[in-house]
């Protein structure tokens, strides 16, 4: 098993992800170095913060095309998942356009405050090796105000006031709206699957 490159998209809160890989005895490194990202056996695009800041950071570090051309398994997490899609209504920003879909603001409804901060049951909507060994309906931890509606690329869904994509994928790229690094045993299993099997 080779190394995991975690792309430094400028957001804070990368430590929890690094520790999650530590707990799996997998070497992971935070980087903006294009060569290191291209040669890693797995790439993670995390993200906490605003979509525009993160896209600007990827442009400034020259990583937009580097990411688009990656051929190894790539996992986007939370905002990182939204960055893999076409666009975000947050600040009306164009994203990487790798997986079809546009992130929109979660609607507020009674008993469904926004942000969605907490554990949501997550249901299969397609097949992904990432979900091997994880029961349909398992809880994962979410922390977001924007979400990608269900599309033909959706692999798992969760429900807030409306249904949204919990896991979405295309080719070697997959994104998770939740935080596997903070989703207890189910999240650890998903990261284990990513390291061992890819997407």
């Amino acid at each position: 098993m080779g190394s995991v490159a975690i792309i430094d998209s400028g957001g804070a809160n990368i430590a929890s992800l690094l520790y999650a890989f530590d707990r799996l005895d997998t070497r992971a490194e935070l980087t903006t170095n294009a060569d290191m990202i291209r040669s890693a056996s797995r790439v993670v695009l995390p993200g906490v913060g605003a979509a525009r800041d993160a896209m600007e950071r990827l442009q400034d570090t020259g990583l937009v095309d580097v990411i688009r051309n990656l051929t190894q398994p790539v996992l986007g997490i939370c905002l990182g998942m939204q960055l893999l899609c076409d666009a975000s209504e947050e600040d009306d920003v164009q994203c990487l356009g790798i997986i079809p879909g546009i992130a929109g603001r979660l609607p507020v409804a009674e008993d469904y405050p926004v942000p969605n901060m907490g554990w949501c049951q997550t249901h299969y909507a397609g097949h992904s090796g990432l979900l091997d060994g994880i029961d349909d309906g398992s809880y994962f931890y979410y922390l977001h105000s924007y979400a990608v509606p269900r599309t033909s690329n959706t692999l798992a869904t969760a429900q807030h006031a409306t249904e949204f994509s919990a896991v979405i994928g295309k080719d070697n790229f997959v994104g998770a709206q939740f935080h596997p690094e903070r989703s207890s045993a189910a999240g650890a299993r998903l990261l284990r699957n990513f390291v061992d099997k890819g997407v």
Binding site: G11, A12, N13, I14, A15, S16, Y19, A20, D22, R23, V48, G49, A50, L79, V108, D111, P113, V114, P115, M117, G118, W119, Y139, Y141, L143, H144, S145, H179, E181, R182, S183, S184, A185, G187, A188
Partner: protein, 240 residues
């Protein structure tokens, strides 16, 4: 060391932070909140080495509160592995701080802690509650402040009902219901948990998004797996 008091006074040591964090994580807690209760009154910041140590051993979300006074403080805490930061007294001193943090990290990272006490039929905010000698009224109505922090970009409110803190006689359902009606963002109840039924009541009656407790878990009086079974049997949606 972790300490716990009664109505924000007479704190005693309840255990080692890493042991407790691991224990709660294994028992099925859904989130941990760490308060550095002496940080704001002493005008010092949190000692942040422990955040890294906690982040390394747990795999559930955790929030850090105490002495986070600037965007730079918040960034440091998040970079060390916290998932959210909670601010209380510094937000009262400078409400614009909420907007600055929400803009930089997103609202979902920014939790506002509100220490609130009933007086003459209304509710009022208190500040510097970590030190009994420095605690003072913030000269704000709780419901005004709840609306205010949402407009400024807060992502979650933890309402500490001071009359109920550590006394184990139930959450302050009346106050929490009023705050619930005034907030579109997640609301966490804090203060007063004494029995498993208190948790059922606060979820059902005040419709809060989460219930925080300390004393009953530290003392092992309410084991978390038993509490979750009890909630599930009462049809409260919960991860088990």
């Amino acid at each position: 060391m972790v300490v716990k008091g009664v109505q924000f006074r007479n704190h005693r040591v309840v255990g080692d932070i890493l042991e407790l964090a691991r224990r709660y994580c294994d028992e099925g807690a859904d989130e941990l909140v760490f308060y550095d209760i002496t940080a704001s009154p002493d005008a010092r910041t949190v000692d942040r080495g422990w955040i890294t140590r906690v982040a390394a051993v747990i795999d559930i979300p955790f929030c850090v509160a105490g002495g986070i006074k600037s965007v730079a403080d918040a960034e440091d805490v998040l970079n060390k592995g916290a998932d959210k930061i909670s601010i209380n007294s510094p937000a009262l001193a400078d409400p614009e701080l909420i907007t600055a943090m929400a803009t930089r990290f997103g609202s979902q990272c920014v939790v506002i802690g509100i220490d609130s006490r009933e007086e003459n039929g209304d509710y009022f905010v208190y500040q510097y509650t970590g030190d009994p000698d420095k605690t003072s009224a913030a000269q704000r109505r709780t419901l005004d402040w709840v609306c205010n922090v949402q407009q400024l970009g807060a992502g979650e409110i933890v309402l500490n009902c001071m009359n109920q803190d550590g006394v184990r006689s139930g959450y302050d359902i009346a106050q929490l219901s009023k705050v619930r009606a005034a907030s579109d963002i997640p609301l966490i109840a804090s203060g007063g948990a004494g029995s498993m039924q208190h948790f059922v009541d606060v979820f059902r009656e005040a419709r809060v998004d989460g219930a925080l407790a300390a004393s009953v878990f530290h003392s092992a009086e309410i084991p978390i797996p038993d509490l979750k079974s009890h909630l599930k049997a009462a049809n409260v949606a919960i991860r088990t």
